[in-house]
Amino acid sequence: MSTFKTESISYKLALIGMLAAVCMALSALEGWLPPLPVPGARLGLANVAITAAMWLTGPVGGTAVGLCKVGFAFLTRGASAALMALGGTVLSLLITAILLPLVRRHRLTFVGVSVAAAGCHTVGQLLTASWMLSTAVVSYAPVLLLISTVSGTLTGLVLNALVPKLSVFSYHP
């Protein structure tokens, strides 16, 4: 099934490490894509790995992968980008942890979770940005929220396709 029935810490740790690597690779890949016309808007592909990690290994694993992504943003894009990523990631991790149980109870699919996470990521990012720069960045909020609805739906569809296949990883003989 979808979660670990085993207490194998090393297996879980290896999986978290692997997903963290995937997450960073996706972040890098996203950096190479042509930038969206709105500053700060990103596709959020890395969120696929974070949500998968949270689904397979629980909230602690998901948080670890999310924080790896923030560390990666710090190394590649500097401190201010990392701070904004941190603001967004904390909020989106929180909402993902809250909503994933609803997916297990078939009330939501990953589309709902991803859209909520993307929206929260935008809100967190904008809150950090308005604290760091000026409240003028709030004027970007509508278009950023629209983009996160679309990108959240896309990453959610990817997760809906991917997670049933990934459940092979949670099988432990």
């Binding site: 939501l108 699919t109 589309v111 909520a116 960045v137 929220l145 049933p164 459940s167």
Partner: protein
């Protein structure tokens, strides 16, 4: 498992909330009063320009850093700045009362005020 399920009715709730938030912020942004004047604070002085002006100004801040400020069509923006981070340039157009941009290396702050804001301190009586 979610096998075979691409979408369910519950997913519409986060989507609707996101869109509602976008609309709410949009409404809130347009409801704020159009700014009347731009207050430029540098380490040495404070200058006020009317936003209705059409002008280009060069502001010199700390460390000799220069900012090119453009005011046109009721909006002000920093067109060019010497500093490395370019935060004030990326802040974009300031139009509404309360909008602000800052260049920390140069110690320059731009704030848009409405007429009411400017008059407010005069109206305080104790």
């Amino acid at each position: 498992m979610t096998k075979g399920r691409w979408f369910c009715r519950g997913d519409l709730i986060p989507i609707a909330l996101c869109l509602a938030a976008a609309i709410a912020v949009c409404v809130w942004c347009t409801c704020r009063a159009q700014g009347q004047e731009l207050c430029v604070t540098t380490p040495t002085e404070e200058r006020v320009y009317a936003l209705t002006d059409h002008r280009e100004e060069t502001i010199v801040g700390n460390n000799g850093l220069k900012l090119t400020l453009v005011i046109e069509d009721g909006a002000a923006y920093v067109h060019q700045a010497d500093c490395p981070d370019q935060v004030c340039v990326h802040t974009g157009r300031l139009t509404r009362s309360g909008d602000s941009a800052a260049c920390l290396p140069a110690g320059v702050v731009l704030t848009v005020r409405g007429e009411k804001d400017a008059a407010a301190p005069d109206a305080v009586a104790r």
